[in-house]
């Protein structure tokens, strides 16, 4: 089955699931309240967006320069920097480190890039025990699912489901208290931090000027992952670059505001190297893996290059009417929602994933909310155009050809209209048949009835009451 039909099938099921709709609506309703309250504290939110967009533009449009700065400064303090052109290279680099250390257990803090390269599967295949330390990620890991949302991985689950899951997988007593459930995870993971050989993290920003990786989190799990294991590995997309340390004074609060309606996320931590002489603790080795994986192809598209400005706040998912109705898993991609629909065709193939460009009402809510001003809904249109140019849909072109021919010939138009109007009542009974050519429409709606009088006739015959006529 194609990715497109899988998407349609899943979407059909989830969109009619009222319980799912209720969960998502409640969660995102609370998010919207918090986000708007926070946005209102800014002196000028639009000014902040413009500055953030220009700063990311500067970074991405001089990416070679800033990446070199970043890696040189990291290396100067003993960090090992690796470059991976694609997912399999990144997995091999990480596996090689893990094998060299003869590691048996890995503690991981949330990283979407690790989801992108399917790192956990690769590590487990190599015989390692991998534990996700972010609570939401742990929950979806125990369910053998992918994250539902790039910021809120387990937002589709209720406390009942999580309690049942913990009972089954962790052997805990059932409870419906979110605090008790959190404490169960805390107890289980404490031991893992202390004994894990390797800590793997992602990163939110790579500061070129000072050679630091900034990690944003609320739970403290990334802090522990970067403090306790002897070896630390950080996997970063090459687009995470920002030019200067001080840029964080803008990006950190904006990420917190749009991500979860916070003034600042619980922990924003900058790492500049492994443990240095004289420092009390920290990993003996730090490996930073820079991942391309088709990002340079997106970079080459000047029109859509700003999609690499994304700071993965998830704000566009939260406001998207499609995401809210079909849910995160329906996309079948690492990155879902509008940003996922824009970048997935670039990362995984335009023809296979072009259907995501149609998973939009083109309302523009995503573009309006994006803190770094990515022109998301226009990029969806551009992907549609590019897909059609690359592989024209002959049937569709022929249909429009016929339509165009007819509209330019009034007599033919009139004849066809007359015939269709006469036979339409007879075809009504076939509306719901699977072979009906207008099935995607007629399945849930009636085709509009062709009126007996054309607009042209109505205009000619209408009663002329006003003297202005």
């Amino acid at each position: 089955m194609s990715f497109a039909s899988e998407f349609r099938n899943r979407a059909r099921v989830v969109a009619s699931n009222l319980r799912h709709r209720q969960i998502i609506r409640t969660a995102l309703g609370n998010y919207e309240t918090a986000r708007d309250r926070r946005k209102a504290t800014y002196q000028d939110w639009q000014g902040a967006r413009q500055l953030a967009a220009e700063t990311k533009w500067e970074a991405i449009n001089h990416l070679d320069h800033y990446l070199l700065d970043f890696s040189t400064r990291l290396e100067a303090r003993g960090t090992k920097v690796h470059w991976a052109s694609n997912a399999s290279q990144a997995r091999e680099i990480i596996l090689a480190i893990v094998q060299e250390k003869q590691a048996r257990s890995v503690i991981k803090s949330k990283a979407m890039t690790a989801e992108e390269i399917h790192l956990n599967e690769a590590l487990e295949k190599a015989g390692l025990k991998v534990v996700e330390s972010d609570l939401g990620e742990l929950i979806v890991q125990l369910r053998r699912e992918t994250p539902y949302h790039i910021v809120f991985p387990s937002m589709h689950l209720t406390r009942e489901e999580i309690s049942a899951l913990f009972e089954k997988e962790l052997g805990s007593a059932p409870t419906l208290d979110p605090e008790e459930l959190t404490m169960i995870a805390r107890r289980v993971l404490r031991g893992k931090y202390l004994t894990a050989d390797i800590g793997i993290t992602g990163g939110n920003f790579a500061v070129a000027e000072t050679g630091m990786v900034s990690i944003t989190e609320n739970e403290g799990n990334a802090r522990l992952t970067a403090a306790l294991p002897k070896t630390m590995i950080t996997l970063l997309g090459i687009e995470k670059i920002i030019p200067r340390l001080d840029d964080l004074a803008l990006f950190l609060p904006m990420l917190a505001t749009m991500g979860a309606g916070q003034a600042l996320t619980g922990y924003n931590t900058l790492y500049g190297g492994p443990r240095q002489p004289g420092e009390l603790d920290g990993p003996e080795e730090w490996h930073v893996v820079l991942l391309d994986n088709h990002r340079t192809e997106l970079l080459a598209d000047g029109e859509q290059r700003d999609a690499l400005h994304c700071i993965r706040c998830g704000a566009c998912l939260n406001v998207c009417p499609i995401f809210r109705n079909v849910g995160g898993h329906t996309y079948g991609t690492t990155y879902s929602g509008p940003i996922g629909s824009v970048i997935t065709p670039h990362l995984r193939g335009l023809q296979d994933w072009k259907h995501l460009s149609g998973a939009s009402s083109l309302c523009g809510a995503c573009t309006e909310t994006c803190p770094v001003k990515i022109d998301l809904h226009h990029h969806l249109l551009q992907n549609r155009r590019n897909a059609a140019q690359e592989r024209p849909d002959n049937l569709e072109e022929a249909a429009f050809g016929v339509f165009g021919w007819l509209t330019r010939r009034p007599a033919a138009w009139k004849t066809v209209r007359f015939i269709l109007q006469k036979i339409q009542p007879l075809t009504r009974q076939f509306q719901k048949k699977p072979w009906h050519p207008a099935k995607p429409w007629t399945q849930t709606r009636d085709l509009p009835v062709i009126p007996s009088e054309s607009f042209r006739d109505w205009w000619k015959n209408r009663p002329k009451t006003s003297k202005h006529d």
Binding site: A27, Q43, D44, G47, Q50, L51, A53, E54, T55, W57, H62, L63, H65, L67, W83, A84, S85, S133, L135, G136, F152, P153, L157, T158, I162, E179, T182, Y193, N218, E219, G220, R223, L224, L228, I238, P243, L245, L248, A249, L250, L252, P253, A263, L264, T265, G266, Y267, T269, L270, Y271, G272, Q276, L280, D281, G282, D292, T296, L299, A300, V372
Partner: protein, 232 residues
């Protein structure tokens, strides 16, 4: 060619096409992309970020309000002796058996009089012992009024784990360490450390928290359940 060279080549090739600047629909007239070196930031975050006020009093009030919202305890005290009294009271109230700290000009005098065992971290400390402590007491670099944040480094605050492994983190700060906003905090870090930044800088905003179960706030997900900040 190395992967590094190949990736950089692909980037340089890609950047030969221009991209429109944000807010400018037409392709920008970018001359020589890839040529500039750390140009000045195109604006000042301070113009857009939440307002903070001018005076220390305003900053103190703002920090206190933010701390309360974050469920962190914040105490603005008159002297080191007041901090000592408060710490000792806390030790008996919470029945501390053992606390962890690091050598420092505030931590050392205050922890020496605590009515419980004190683990002062030194290189090669036992992490299991740290994990068993009731509280971690550390100094910090700055307090940030704008967001109710504690800025600390592994140099100023006893390494990477002390401020996040024990269930209660107590921050000792001098009043002059309270700064207005995030730009001031980064400027302060730059001034303090120059080119030789510690390998960890953490901006801590409230106790550890999660909302991963039905978006309901729970404190103490993996880090401290409690965060207490004493400024004197």
């Amino acid at each position: 060619m190395t992967e590094k060279g190949q990736i950089l080549n692909r980037i340089r090739l890609a950047l030969k096409t221009n991209a429109p600047r944000p807010g400018h629909p037409a392709p920008a007239q970018v001359k020589n992309p890839g040529g500039s070196h750390h140009p000045p930031s195109p604006g000042e975050p301070r113009n857009w970020l939440p307002k903070v006020g001018e005076s220390v009093e305003e900053h103190r009030t703002l920090f206190a309000r933010n701390a309360a919202e974050l469920k962190a305890d914040f105490h603005w005290l008159d002297s080191l002796e007041d901090a000592r009294k408060l710490l000792n009271d806390m030790a008996s109230r919470e029945v501390w058996q053992k606390v962890a700290t690091h050598a420092g000009e505030c931590t050392s005098p205050l922890c020496s009089t605590l009515p419980c065992k004190v683990l002062t971290l030194s290189p090669g400390y036992d992490r299991n012992e740290l994990e068993s402590c009731n509280a971690g007491i550390s100094e910090c670099d700055f307090l940030v009024a704008q967001t109710g944040t504690v800025a600390l480094t592994n140099q100023s605050a006893g390494g990477r784990a002390l401020s996040v492994l024990p269930p209660h983190h107590i921050v000792l700060a001098r009043k002059h360490q309270l700064l207005a906003d995030l730009p001031a905090a980064f400027a302060g870090l730059r001034q303090k450390y120059g080119d030789n930044f510690p390998t960890m800088i953490s901006l801590i905003t409230g106790p550890s928290r999660t909302g991963d179960i039905e978006r309901i706030l729970v404190l103490g997900a993996h880090g401290p359940k409690k965060l207490t900040i004493l400024a004197f």
